[in-house]
Symmetry: C2
Subunit: 452 residues, 2 copies
C-alpha cells in the first residue's frame, strides 16, 4: 500500500488529457500537492492509504479553470460604471474613479473580493493586470490562490511609477521576489499598443526572451489599434519581434485577415473575453477564423467592472454560444489560396473545457504544471455537483458543464492540493470581512460619485 495525502473519488472525472475523456467512478490521488495517480476508485482503495478520503457521488471533478485576462481589484467597481461605450466607460466613468481611489489598500481589498469570486466559481489560476501588482501578489499568497501577475508597463506616469523604465524596474524586482514561488509567476504587461513606445516594447521583448516570461497586451479591443503613422498594431509588433509564442493578446475583436495571418505566423495565443467585449459594445472576437489558422485560444473575463463578475463557467457558455451562432462576414470563409483545411469541425463542449483550462495554462507558460489532470502536475481541481433539476439527466457531462451548470454548484476547489473551497465555504478567505470591506469602499466611492 502506498500512502498519499488525499484521495478524491468522484462520479465523473474529466482530466482534459486525453482530450474528450470522461472517467466514471475514478479517484485522484494527491501527495505533496501534486497528482500521483488517477485510477478506478476500486483500484485506488486497493493501492493507496490516505490521510483524507473525499467522496463526491453526484459530482464531476476537473482541473480548476485558468482565467487569462483579469483586473481583479476592479471588483470594487462592479456595477459602478454601466456605459456600453468603451471610450466613454473608460475615460469618463472608470479613470476618474481610479485616479481618485486607486492605491495599495484598494488593490488588496478589491483583489481579495475578486479571488473569492473566482474560487467560488471554480477558477484556480488567474492572469492579472493592474497597478500595485505587489499588493495583488500579497493577496494571492495569503489566500493560497495561483496567479500569473502582470508587470504593468506604460509611458504615462501613475501613482505606481513615473516612467516606462520605472515600471520595468519595479516589475522586474517583483519578478525576482517570486522567482521560486510555487503559486505565483509573472508576465510582462504593456498596457496597450498606443501606451508604449517602440523603445519600451523592445525592452519588454528583451526581458521576455531573457527570462522566458509571457507577455500580455490588450489588442484591437474597441477599434483597430494603429500607431500615429498608421501602422497596424500587428505589423508593429511583428517588426519589433513580439509576435512569438510568449505573447498572449487579449480581446482581439477588431481584426482583419492580415492581423490573423501575422498572429498565426508568430504562434501567439489569444485571450477571448466575450462578455466584456459584448458588454462594452465592442463586438465579438472572430473565433472560427482564428481556429481556421490554428491560433490557440484561451478565455478571460476582463474586470468585474465590465463583465460583471469573474465566472469562467458563464464565460465558457457565452463563448460557446457565440461561436455556434455569430457569423463574421469576410473572415469566416478562408481565402481560396489558403492552406487551411476546408472543413474544421465546430468546437464542442470538450474543446471549450480545454480552452478554459489547459490552453490557458499553456499560454501562461504553465502547461507542464497545471491545466489537466495527469500525474506530476499540481492538484489544481474543481468539483461540481450535478444533482440539480437543471443539470439532470446527464447524457453528456461536458455539455452539462458548458451549457447548464451554474457557479454555485462548484462545491470544492483545491490549489496545489490545498482545499481553498470546501463544501461551498472558503477556507483561506473570511468572506464576511471581505464583503464588509467591499461595502465600505462602495460607501466612499458611491458617495463621491453622487456628489460630483
Amino acid at each position: 500500500m502506498q500512502h498519499v495525502d488525499t484521495l478524491i473519488a468522484a462520479r465523473w472525472i474529466i482530466p482534459i488529457e486525453p482530450h474528450g475523456s470522461v472517467l466514471d467512478h475514478h479517484a485522484v490521488a494527491i501527495r505533496h500537492g501534486r497528482i500521483v495517480a488517477i485510477l478506478p476508485e476500486k483500484q485506488a482503495r486497493e493501492r493507496f492509504t490516505a490521510d483524507q478520503w473525499i467522496e463526491r457521488r453526484s459530482h464531476v471533478l476537473m482541473p480548476g479553470m485558468v482565467n487569462t485576462h483579469t483586473h481583479a481589484a476592479m471588483s470594487l467597481l462592479r456595477g459602478a460604471a454601466e456605459s456600453n461605450d468603451t471610450g466613454y466607460w473608460l475615460r469618463h466613468q472608470i479613470e476618474p474613479l481610479e485616479e481618485r481611489w486607486l492605491d495599495a489598500d484598494y488593490v488588496r481589498d478589491g483583489t481579495e473580493l475578486g479571488i473569492a469570486d473566482m474560487i467560488t466559481s471554480g477558477t484556480t489560476c488567474f492572469a492579472d493586470i493592474y497597478l500595485f501588482p505587489e499588493a495583488t501578489a500579497q493577496v494571492v499568497a495569503a489566500t493560497r490562490m495561483r496567479a500569473c501577475i502582470g508587470l504593468p508597463v506604460l509611458e504615462q506616469s501613475t501613482r505606481w511609477a513615473e516612467s516606462a523604465d520605472e515600471y520595468m524596474d519595479r516589475g522586474l524586482l517583483l519578478h525576482d521576489d517570486y522567482r521560486d514561488d510555487p503559486l505565483i509567476t509573472t508576465m510582462l504587461a504593456p498596457y496597450a499598443p498606443w501606451a508604449v513606445s517602440d523603445a519600451t516594447l523592445t525592452r519588454v521583448r528583451r526581458a521576455a526572451d531573457e527570462l522566458e516570461l509571457p507577455v500580455t497586451m490588450r489588442l484591437n479591443q474597441h477599434a483597430i489599434d494603429t500607431s500615429a503613422t498608421g501602422e497596424r498594431a500587428f505589423a508593429r509588433l511583428e517588426r519589433l519581434g513580439l509576435l512569438s509564442p510568449l505573447l498572449l493578446a487579449a480581446h482581439m475583436v477588431h481584426i482583419d485577415a492580415s492581423d490573423i495571418d501575422r498572429a498565426a505566423a508568430g504562434g501567439i495565443s489569444i485571450a477571448h473575453c466575450p462578455q466584456s467585449n459584448l458588454k462594452l459594445g465592442n463586438g465579438v472576437c472572430p473565433v472560427p477564423a482564428l481556429r481556421a489558422q490554428g491560433i490557440a485560444l484561451t478565455l478571460g473575463t476582463g474586470s468585474a467592472a465590465s463583465n460583471n463578475d469573474a465566472d469562467m463557467l458563464d464565460e465558457m457558455r457565452t463563448a460557446a454560444l457565440l461561436a455556434n451562432g455569430v457569423r463574421h462576414p469576410g473572415l469566416d470563409d478562408a481565402p481560396e489560396d489558403s492552406d487551411a483545411p476546408d472543413d474544421i469541425p465546430p468546437l464542442d463542449a470538450h474543446d471549450w473545457l480545454q480552452i478554459a483550462t489547459l490552453n490557458g495554462a499553456r499560454a501562461l507558460g504553465l502547461g507542464d504544471a497545471i491545466g489537466s489532470l495527469i500525474p506530476g502536475k499540481w492538484a489544481d481541481l474543481c468539483c461540481i455537483d450535478l444533482a440539480r433539476a437543471h443539470t439532470r439527466p446527464v447524457y453528456n457531462v461536458a455539455a452539462q458543464i458548458v451549457y447548464s451548470v451554474s457557479r454555485e454548484q462548484v462545491c470544492d476547489v483545491w490549489v496545489a492540493g490545498r482545499a481553498v473551497l470546501t463544501q461551498g465555504r472558503l477556507t483561506y478567505i473570511d468572506l464576511d470581512d471581505v464583503l464588509r470591506r467591499a461595502q465600505l469602499w462602495q460607501q466612499r466611492i458611491g458617495g463621491a460619485r453622487h456628489t460630483q
Copy 2:
C-alpha cells in the same frame, strides 16, 4: 391595524412599475394571493398584522420571471442532442427520440423536471408548447406553478391527434377545462408556418378572436419561412389576419425590413430566445431594429434540449450582452424615410428586467394579473440574495441581477402568494423523486441511443 396573510420585507424591491424604481427597505403585503400594498417596512409594521412575517435582509425582491417560449417536457433530453445545425438536430437527433418515447408519462415527468428548473431560477410563469398539453397542465396544477399552455396545431398526425381539426378540437376542450383556473391559461400554438394550411390558420384566427386567446408560433427560426409559392411567412400571416397584438412570434432570427414593418404594423410581440438561437447555429434576433419600430420584446429559453436549461437570469444576461455588442448590418440603421426616432437609447438593466417580467405577462394576455408589483396583481415573486462575493458591492441593483447574479441565489419564490420555493427548497415538488425519474428516462433513452 389591517390583517394580511404575509408580509415580506426585503433590502431592495424592484416593482418594475414604475419603470426603473428601486425601493429600499420596503415590504410587500399579501392577502388571498394578491398584493395589497408595497410600502416602507416601518409603515408596514404600523399598518399591518400578518400571519407570517418574512425578512430578507440582503435580498432583492422582484416579480417572478415570465418565460414566454418553452417546451418543458424536453428537459428529459437535456444534453442528449448536441448538434449545432438546427435541421440535423431536429430531424436526426430530436424527432427520432420523440417518435420513440413521447407519451403522456414522458410529458409529465419532463414537465415536472422543467418546472423545478424554472422555479429554482426565479420563473413563476411559463408559456409552453408541446404535445399532450393536458399532461403539462396537470403537472402545472399539481406543482402550484403558473402557465399559459399552448394548444398545438399542425396538419401532421402524431400520437396526440390525427388532423388539424382534431388538434383544434382537443385544444379547445382543454381551454374549456381551465377556463376559470387562476393559474392556468391557454394559447393557440400553430407549430410553424410550413406545418399549417391557410384554412387551419384561418380557424386559429377565428378561435383566437372569439376567445381572446393569444396565438404563438415559431417564425423565421433557422431560415426565412416561405410557403411553397414563395410567399414570405409575414406576408401570409398578414393576408390571413394573424398579425395582431394577440400574436407572439418566437425566435425571429432570419427577418428583413419588410418583416419588421409588418410585425410593427400588426402590433405583435416577439419572444426573443437568444441562447437557443445561438446554440442551434441560427444567429441573433435583431433586437435594436425591432425596438426602433416599437415592437414589444419578451424572453424565452426554448427547450432544455437546445439551451440547455430554463434559466431566465442567464437568458437575460445573454440577451443584454448581445444587444450591446452584436451588429445587424442592413437592419440596425433605420431607412432614411423612416418615422422612427433617430436616437433610441440602448437597453439598460431595468429594461431587461421589464422584458423578462411585465412584457412577457402582457404578451400572454396577463398584463393586468402579473409581471409587476402593484396592488391588485397576483403575488408572483422571486427573492434573490446578493450576499455573495460576485454580487457585492451593490451600486446598481438592476445591473447586478442582469449581469452578475447566478440562479442559486434565488432563495424564495411565490406564485399567487403561495411559497413554491422557500430558502432554496421546493415545497410542492419532491426533487429527489423528480431526479430519480429523470435518470430512469435517461437510462431508457440513452440505452436506446447507444444501441442504434
